[in-house]
């Protein structure tokens, strides 16, 4: 009895989660400047209009640069932090890893304004580099969550064997450890990339004259005429996110299989 109620609840729950997202493609193909029902017709115009938007191209390039650099930096920092916490005991471990995870539990606006204050006081210019700093900060904890489980599932005897056979620490990492945790590393890169690509508040505070994609979208939302194009752009971003996530999920599962563990369903 209660089983059936819960199953119905779950179906409604998933529908509720997806409902707004399903509207995105509907209005992206709707032949009207007004985002409202009833629908008027089918068109590809809004997608075509994206090709002509010069600012959009600049924003997209900025976002790609920021997301790539943030993802690589966050994953590198996360590799160091998770390797240290999973494999070694040292004084101050709890406090240090706690501090590194803090950005996950802070309102983004606090991170945004504190970095903005430093930049203003130091007299720096706001640029894509200031955004990269903020994004690396918030991506690192997510990358650690993923890589920590990779390191936990790694059999230490593999590395010990390599060290006993005379490989140096560095080449053991490069030739034994890294290949074994590679799916986790790729999954971390993709997740960090996706977070940075989508992040708005920090980028909004820290962007100067070069907007990111979400900052550009935000500026367009003020003009009702531009909204159908934004819907088309949103649809493309949605497809991109789904592709990246599916890839990341495939790599995560491969990682679980490679490390000989049963699938526990997620980086959590």
């Amino acid at each position: 009895m209660s089983k059936r109620i819960l199953t119905i609840f779950m179906v409604v729950f998933v529908l509720f989660l997806y409902a707004p997202t399903l509207l995105l493609p509907i209005f992206a193909f709707n032949d009207s400047t007004f985002i409202a029902f009833p629908l008027s017709g089918f068109t590809f115009d809004w997608f075509a209009s994206l090709g002509a938007a010069v600012e959009l191209r600049g924003a997209a390039i900025n976002s790609l640069i920021i997301a790539s650099i943030s993802a690589v930096t966050a994953t590198t920092l996360a590799l160091l932090a998770s390797s240290a916490t999973v494999r070694y005991r040292f004084p101050g471990k709890g406090i240090m890893i706690g501090a590194i995870m803090v950005p996950m539990f802070l309102p983004e606006i606090v991170i945004g304004v504190s970095l903005l204050t430093v930049v203003l006081l130091a007299g720096f210019q706001l640029s894509i580099y200031t955004i990269i700093m903020g994004h690396t900060l918030i991506c690192t904890p997510f990358s650690i969550a993923i890589l920590r489980s990779s390191f936990q599932q790694l059999d230490p005897s593999m590395e010990e064997a390599s060290l006993d056979l005379g490989e140096s620490r560095f080449s053991t990492f490069r030739r034994v450890t890294l290949p074994l945790i590679m799916p986790g590393v790729i999954s971390s890169l993709l997740i960090a990339f996706t977070i940075s690509l989508d992040e708005f508040v920090i980028a909004f505070f820290l962007s100067g004259t070069e907007p990111t994609l979400p900052v550009y979208i935000w500026s367009q939302l003020r003009f009702p005429r531009k909204i159908p194009s934004v819907m088309a752009l949103g649809t493309l971003l949605l497809l991109l996110s789904i592709c990246l996530l599916t890839l990341s999920e495939i790599f995560r599962r491969r990682s679980a299989r490679r490390l000989g563990q049963k699938d526990n369903g997620g980086a959590w």
Binding site: A81, F105, L106, P107
Partner: protein
Amino acid sequence: MSLRTRLDQDARRGLSQISLPFIFVMLLLAVPLVILLAMSFWTQDFLTLDRTPTLNNFIEAWSEPIYRTLMLRSLKISIIVTFVTVGLAYPAAYYMSFIAPNNRKAFLVFLITIPFWTSYLMRIFLWKVILGYNGVINASLMGIGLIDKPLDFILYNQLAVVLTLSHAWLPFAVLPIFVVMEKVNRTYLEAAQDLGDTPFWQFIRITLPLSMPGVVAATLIVFVPTIGDYVTPKLVGGPDGLMIANLIELQFKKANNAPLGAALALSAMFLVTAVAAIFVWLNRRYLKAEGAA
């Protein structure tokens, strides 16, 4: 090799690996927060910064009615959102962990996570489309003839903010509860059943207390960032639905009063940390009383 030198070597290796990410966080988070704190004790007149320390910004932040109203409203909204989110996420996580067949679990987790990774800005904006004057709800209600003209009270208020924020944070609340439920030892439930406990009491006495850590994690994950949300109140809140983040942004940008903005941001952070700490403390006490901790 003695045990002691081995440990020392381990410790050194661990410390050298963690030092880089730790220094990074110190430079980009701890130092900026300290500078933000310093800033909140200064005063700004247009572009000149007066560095004589004063408490005026905090006094203004806590006594001026508009700031106090928005601060308390933000707190109220994030508490309601947390209740709604965790309340809906709990049965969903329960279904995923206890009812769904094992080979479906990974897929369900994936299904729940996808909407969370789609553009945050677009998801919030789409709620405006759903709740708007010519939106989905009004169009469908008029379509089935329930109303003659669009309802104009469903968008631009605090309820719209609560609905939109709850939707945005749902996946984030499901996952931690699900992970903790997965660790609940199923043999306890079998033992309780063998000893004649009904399913209801099994849930109350075993599953609920053992899944509480997940509920606490979900509560913190939703509650803390929600209080500082900027996009949702701006897009669907209207004038009565604005929250503290909108005011902080105003101080830093248009109003040119970064010190007051800093004081508001730190006050909000303090408020949210205090409420979260009280919640965690109460929960520890409850668990201890239950004998589950």
